[in-house]
């Protein structure tokens, strides 16, 4: 029986992280659908989802055979690297050091590329199918990794998977209703939150793997979330100040 209160942080982390990835995939799939037609867009998406499903079916049981402390250390390390990368970028975006990710601009760039690409005359528009397939695979692999990383080490694969599926449903529904990129969703705020969650989970699992006796056991994840959030917010302020203080290069 799953303790959903206990599993809450895992569900929230998987939901938010998957939401960001699915929004990015939706932008490209929408561009393919608008420019090249919905049949190749949906076919490419279906192929991508099928390959991802196969990956999960093959890799999932294999993961269960690896000793838990090895999984915790390996998955925790990867999760930490993944989270630090996201959080660093989100800090720099929040501080105005690098530009915010713009779904409208990404949509415009993708539609231009798809209009310029040839190969749309035959029954199977492989350029369009390939574009939809590639983005679903790329973003989907990130989602699969996040779900496995958040869920596997703590035996919470089902709640983490449920969080990812909920995010998929939300994005698909919004895509069907709006028929345009989800530009109004505060993507950097989401990435900031997800970066904090991934760092906290990663640090926790690495700690478990190297034998740290966390005070209050799993509840330490909440303290780690608060700690990484504080560090990230202070870093944004420091980066903003640093950017103003230093003289620009001539």
């Amino acid at each position: 029986m799953i303790d959903w209160v206990h599993a809450g942080p895992s569900v929230a982390a998987a939901f938010l992280a998957s939401l960001v990835e699915f929004i990015e995939a939706l932008t490209v799939v929408l561009a393919v659908g608008v420019v090249r037609g919905w049949r190749p867009a949906l076919l490419g998406t279906a192929f991508g989802l099928a390959v991802l499903f196969l990956l999960v079916i093959v890799l999932g049981p294999a993961l269960a055979r690896i000793p838990l402390d090895v999984v915790q250390l390996a998955v925790g390390t990867l999760l930490l690297l993944f989270g630090l990368r996201w959080l660093r970028k989100a800090i720099l975006r929040a501080a105005g050091i690098i530009a915010l990710h713009d779904e409208e601009a990404a949509f415009a760039a993708e539609t231009t590329l798809l209009r310029q690409a040839g190969g749309g005359g035959s029954e199977w528009d492989w350029v369009a199918i390939g574009a939809a397939f590639k983005i679903v695979m790329l973003e989907g692999i990130e989602v699969v990794f996040i779900v496995i990383a958040i869920g596997a080490a703590g035996g919470l694969l089902v709640p983490a998977g449920a969080g990812a599926i909920a995010a998929l449903l939300v994005v698909v529904l919004l895509g069907i209703v709006l028929h345009r990129p989800l530009a109004r969703i505060p993507e950097n705020a989401l990435k900031f939150a997800v970066g904090v969650l991934l760092c906290a989970f990663g640090a926790f699992w690495v700690g478990e793997g190297i034998g740290v006796a966390w005070p209050a056991a799993d509840w330490s994840i909440l303290a780690l979330i608060a700690g990484f959030l504080a560090v990230a917010l202070v870093s944004v302020l420091l980066c903003r100040g640093r950017a103003r203080m230093l003289p620009a290069a001539q």
Binding site: I210, W214, A249
Partner: protein, 73 residues
């Protein structure tokens, strides 16, 4: 072979954006796992050391990136 290289690059790109951040974090994890325990540091303090090191590495890297970006403008 080009697609294998592209796929590998995408895979590595999932975890590594700034190489120095990834390398420094990995070195700190190795120190926490291999160097600190034999020094007799209590397991509970090891968790605090792990977090503190990662927090400093993240903040320092972000600040350095901000300085670099500003200098290149």
């Amino acid at each position: 072979m080009g697609w294998i290289y592209t796929a590998l690059r995408e895979l590595v790109g999932l975890f590594v954006d700034d190489g120095s951040l990834a390398v420094t974090a990995l070195i700190w994890l190795a120190i926490c796992g291999l160097v600190l325990p034999p020094l007799g540091i209590a397991d509970a303090w090891l968790g605090l050391a792990l977090f503190a090191g990662l927090a400093i590495i993240l903040a320092e890297n972000a600040l350095r990136a901000a300085r670099r970006k500003r200098a290149s403008r």
